[in-house]
C-alpha cells in the first residue's frame, strides 16, 4: 500500500462526522466496487474501507464510525477518534448535515485544532431546500478556512465535483485554523497586553500572530510568562475549551451562513406527523408490536423454504461426494458427515440472518429504530438496560450472534455488557426444532393444539422472563463503574436507500460467516470425531440403524454421555437424553440428528419428525416405565431454553467483550440456570404427577 513513488501512492481519506449525517451513504457512493472489512486491533469495531481510482489518483476511503465528540465515550467513538488521529491519514472529509449545522459543526471545531488537512462536505441540501433554507457555501468555506462541497442526493454531478475536490485537497492540503482555540488564546493575549497598557483589537493581534511579525515576537522574549500565552496563540492550542464556547461559535457561524429564502417549513413537520402515531402512547405501542410480529413472520416464513433448500443441497452434495469416496471409510465419513454437514450447518442459518439484517437495516435507515428505543427505554430501563438494548435482544430471537454484535451501538459499557450477557437467553431459532419435536410428541397429542401453541409461546417468553432478574442482579452485584446518560438522537424520517441497506446486510452477513461459521465448522468436526471413534463392530443381526446406535453408544461421545448421566439423573434424563445434551453443547441444533441416532432411527430421522416423535413416545426406561412424561419433555425444553449450548455464541462473547472471563461466566450461569430450571420442572412433576 505504501510506496515512495508518488504515482502509485494510495492516499488515505477518512470520512468523519456525526451519526445520521449521511456518512455511510456517501461512503457507499464514493467507494469502489469492493469494500474491505477489517478489525481494528484490540476492539470489535470493524473498519470498512474501499479503494477507488479518481482519474488516476488512488484513494483508500475509510468509513469511520459516527461520533459526536473527539473525546469518545463508546468503543465506536474511540475507534473513530483513533482513526482521525492516525498519522497516515492524508485527508479528513468532514461530513456535516446542513440541516443541523449547529450541532454538526461541533466536531469540526475539535478537528480543526488537529492541524490536519480537512475538506467539508455539507449533506442534506435537499432537506434544506424543502425547509426553505439556503446555506452560503462560499461564506462557510471562508469561516472554516477549508474547501466546502454541498451535496443533496448525493446527485451524480455533485459526487463528481466532490471527487475532484478531494483530489485537489490531497494536493493543496487545506489546514483549518483552530477556530475556537485560536480565538480563546488571542483573547487571553489581548487581555494580558491590555493590562500592560497595550491596546490591540483581536483582528490586529490575529494578523500579527498569523504573520509571525519579527518585532512583535521578540517583544515577548523579555517576558517569559507572557511568552507562553503568545506561543499558545501561535499554536492555537489552549485547554480545556468549554463546550459552551464551541457551541457559541457554531451558533454564530450557522446564523451567518444560513438564510431563509422562502416561507419556512419546519424540518420536522412530516416527522412529527408520523411520530404522532408511531410514538403515541397507544397507537405507538400497537404499531411497535405489529412491526415486531412482522419481522418474526418474515424471518420464519421466508427462511423456511430457503433453509430446506440449503439442507437439501448439502444433503445432495454429501451424497454425491460419498459416492466418489471409498464406502464406509474414515475419509468418506469425515468428508460427508464432518466437513460437508458442518459447512451446511453454518450456511443453513444464513437465510434468516440475512433476512433479519435486511429488516433491521431498513428500520435503521428510516429512523424507526431510534423511535423503538424511545418507546422501549422505560420498559428495559428499570432493570438497568436502556432502550438501545432492544435491537440486540430482538435480533437474539433469531440468533444470539448478530444480537451480541448489535450491542456495539450502545455507548454505555455497563449496559452493553449486561445486554451481551443476557442476549443468548432469548430463544434463538436453533431451539425451535427441539421445541417442535417435544411439543409435537408430548404436549399436542395429550392437551391439544391450543396448549401446544401456548407451550411454544411460553418457551419463547421463558428466556426473556429469566433475563430481567439476571440483568437486575448483574447491575446490582457484578458490573461496576459509572453509567453514561441515555442520550439518543431522533433523526427525521427518511426513505432508506436500497443500496445502503443491501451493503449493510451483506457486510453483517459476512462478519457472521467469518466469526460464527469457523467455530461451528470446527465444532461439527470435533463432534463428528467424538461420535466416530473408537470404531466398534456391531454384533451380528443388527440392522444398519441399530448398528449406528451401537457405534454411537460405544463412541467417546456415548461413553461421555453415559458417564455424565448420573449428573442428569435428578432431572429424569437417561443416557440417551444425556448423550444428546452433551453432543449439543457445541451447537444446540445438533440435538435433533443426535436423538435420531440415539433412538436407532438413523440421523435422517429429523426429516421424518413423526417417526422420531412416535419412537420417543414409546421409549422405555430400564424398569419399563415410559422414558418421557410430559414433565420430562417440558424439563428438557426448559433445559434447552436456558442452556448456553452454542460455542459460536461463546466465541462471539469472548471477542466482543475482549475477555475469556465473561464467556466462561455466561457458560457457567446459563448452564446452572438450565439445570435448576429443569430440576424445578422435575420436582413439580413429582409433586403433581404426570
Amino acid at each position: 500500500m505504501k510506496s515512495k513513488s508518488s504515482e502509485t501512492k494510495t492516499y488515505q481519506v477518512a470520512l468523519v462526522g456525526n451519526p445520521n449525517a449521511g456518512k455511510t451513504t456517501l461512503f457507499n457512493a464514493l467507494s469502489g466496487a469492493r469494500q474491505k472489512i477489517a478489525n481494528y486491533p484490540g476492539v470489535t469495531v470493524e473498519e470498512v474501507s474501499s479503494e477507488a481510482d479518481i482519474d488516476g489518483t488512488k484513494v483508500n476511503f475509510i468509513d469511520v464510525p459516527g461520533l459526536y465528540s473527539l473525546e469518545p465515550v463508546s468503543e465506536d467513538e474511540a475507534v473513530a477518534a483513533a482513526v482521525i488521529h492516525r498519522e497516515n491519514v492524508d485527508l479528513l472529509v468532514c461530513i456535516i448535515d446542513g440541516s443541523n449545522l449547529e450541532r454538526n459543526l461541533y466536531i469540526f471545531t475539535q478537528i480543526a485544532a488537529l492541524g490536519k488537512p480537512v475538506l467539508v462536505a455539507v449533506t442534506m441540501m435537499d432537506r434544506m431546500d424543502k425547509a426553505g433554507k439556503k446555506v452560503d457555501l462560499q461564506l462557510l468555506s471562508e469561516r472554516l478556512h477549508v474547501p466546502v462541497v454541498g451535496l443533496s442526493g448525493p446527485l451524480p454531478g455533485e459526487l463528481k465535483n466532490l471527487r475532484t475536490r478531494i483530489v485537489e485537497a490531497l494536493k493543496t492540503r487545506p489546514i483549518p485554523k483552530p477556530v475556537i482555540e485560536r480565538r480563546t488564546a488571542l483573547a487571553a493575549l489581548q487581555d494580558r497586553l491590555l493590562r500592560m497598557g497595550y491596546d490591540f483589537t483581536l483582528e490586529q493581534l490575529d494578523e500579527k500572530v498569523h504573520s509571525g511579525e519579527q518585532e512583535f515576537e521578540s517583544f515577548f522574549a523579555d517576558f517569559p510568562e507572557l511568552k507562553q500565552v503568545y506561543d499558545d496563540a501561535v499554536a492555537g492550542t489552549v485547554n480545556p475549551i468549554e463546550p459552551s464556547a464551541r457551541y457559541h461559535w457554531t451558533q454564530q457561524v450557522q446564523n451567518e451562513v444560513i438564510s431563509t429564502v422562502s416561507k419556512p417549513k419546519r424540518k420536522y413537520r412530516l416527522t412529527d406527523r408520523i411520530d404522532y402515531v408511531l410514538t403515541h402512547r397507544v397507537w405507538g405501542l400497537i404499531v411497535f408490536v405489529l412491526i415486531m410480529v412482522f419481522v418474526f413472520e418474515c424471518i420464519y416464513t421466508f427462511s423456511g423454504p430457503l433453509m430446506d433448500g440449503i439442507e437439501a443441497a448439502f444433503g445432495w452434495v454429501g451424497e454425491k461426494a460419498g459416492e466418489h469416496l471409498p464406502a464406509d471409510s474414515l475419509l468418506q465419513s469425515f468428508i460427508v458427515d464432518g466437513v460437508i454437514a458442518g459447512v451446511g450447518g453454518v450456511v443453513v442459518f444464513l437465510p434468516q440472518i440475512l433476512i433479519l439484517f435486511l429488516l433491521t437495516s431498513i428500520l435503521e435507515g428510516t429512523g424507526y429504530l431510534a423511535r423503538a428505543a424511545f418507546l422501549m427505554d422505560r420498559l428495559l430501563g428499570w432493570c438497568g438496560l436502556n432502550g438501545r438494548a432492544f435491537i440486540p435482544l430482538l435480533s437474539s430471537f433469531a440468533c444470539a450472534i448478530p444480537g451480541i454484535m448489535a450491542a456495539r451501538v450502545m455507548p454505555d459499557p455497563k449496559s452493553r455488557l449486561a445486554t451481551i450477557l443476557v442476549a443468548p437467553l432469548m430463544s434463538c431459532s436453533a431451539r425451535l426444532p427441539v421445541y417442535l419435536i417435544l411439543i409435537g410428541a408430548f404436549i399436542e397429542p395429550k392437551f391439544g393444539p391450543i396448549w401446544a401453541g401456548f407451550a411454544l409461546f411460553a418457551m419463547h417468553m421463558l428466556g426473556f422472563g429469566v433475563a430481567i432478574p439476571v440483568v437486575y442482579l448483574l447491575n446490582r452485584k457484578m458490573l461496576k463503574g459509572k453509567r453514561l446518560p441515555f442520550l439518543l438522537e431522533l433523526p427525521p424520517y427518511q426513505w432508506p436507500r436500497m443500496k445502503d441497506v443491501l451493503i449493510a446486510m451483506f457486510t453483517r452477513g459476512k462478519v457472521f460467516l467469518t466469526t460464527a461459521g469457523t467455530t461451528i465448522l470446527a465444532m461439527s468436526i470435533i463432534i463428528w470425531a467424538a461420535g466416530y471413534f473408537p470404531r466398534s463392530t456391531a454384533p451380528a443381526g443388527m440392522d444398519e440403524k441399530q448398528a449406528a446406535m451401537h457405534q454411537l453408544e460405544n463412541s467417546y461421545l456415548g461413553k461421555f454421555g453415559t458417564a455424565i448421566q448420573p449428573v442428569f439423573a435428578p432431572l429424569g434424563f437417561d443416557w440417551r437424553i444425556s448423550t444428546a445434551i452433551v453432543s449439543a453443547f457445541p451447537a444446540r441444533e445438533v440435538v435433533v440428528p443426535s436423538l435420531g441416532i440415539l433412538f436407532a432411527l438413523g440421523e435422517d430421522a429429523a426429516d421424518d419428525e413423526s417417526t422420531l416423535r412416535d419412537t420417543m413416545r414409546e421409549a422405555k426406561r430400564e424398569n419399563g416405565a415410559p422414558l418421557f412424561t410430559p414433565w420430562t419433555a417440558v424439563g428438557l425444553m426448559v433445559f434447552f431454553a436456558l442452556c448456553a449450548q452454542c460455542m459460536s455464541t461463546l466465541a462471539t462473547v469472548k471477542r466482543e467483550t475482549n475477555s475469556r472471563k465473561w464467556a466462561w461466566f455466561m457458560f457457567g450461569y446459563m448452564t446452572a440456570l438450565a439445570y435448576i430450571g429443569a430440576l424445578i420442572v422435575k420436582l413439580l412433576g413429582d409433586l403433581f404427577g404426570g
Binding site: Y68, S69, E71, V73, S99, N100, L101, E102, R103, Y106, E242, P243, S244, Y247, Q251, K267, Y268, T271, D272, D275, T279, H280, R281, V282, G284, L285, A370, A373, F374, L375, D377, R378, L379, G381, G387, K482, R483, L484, P485, F486, L487, L488, E489, L490, P491, P492
Partner: protein, 67 residues
C-alpha cells in the same frame, strides 16, 4: 413546553456528554413528547431532536419560558 437551561450540575463525564450534545447553560429547548411510560422525553434543541431521561437531567436547573 419551552425552557432554558439556567445552571448545570458540577462538571463530570456525564454532564460533559450533555454539554457536547448541545445542552449548555443558556440553551433553549422545547419538550416535544413524553414516552408512553412517562420517560424518556423528546426535546427539540439547536434544530434537532434528542431523547433523554428526565431522571438523568435531575441536576440541571431549568427555567420555564412558557408553552
Amino acid at each position: 413546553m419551552k425552557a432554558r437551561i439556567s445552571a448545570l450540575p458540577p462538571l463530570n463525564d456525564e454532564v460533559k456528554r450533555f454539554q457536547e450534545m448541545g445542552l449548555v447553560a443558556g440553551t433553549e429547548f422545547k419538550v416535544i413528547k413524553i414516552a408512553p411510560m412517562g420517560d424518556p422525553i423528546e426535546i427539540d434543541l439547536r434544530g434537532y431532536r434528542l431523547c433523554l431521561r428526565k431522571q438523568e437531567m435531575s441536576g440541571f436547573e431549568v427555567e420555564v419560558l412558557g408553552n
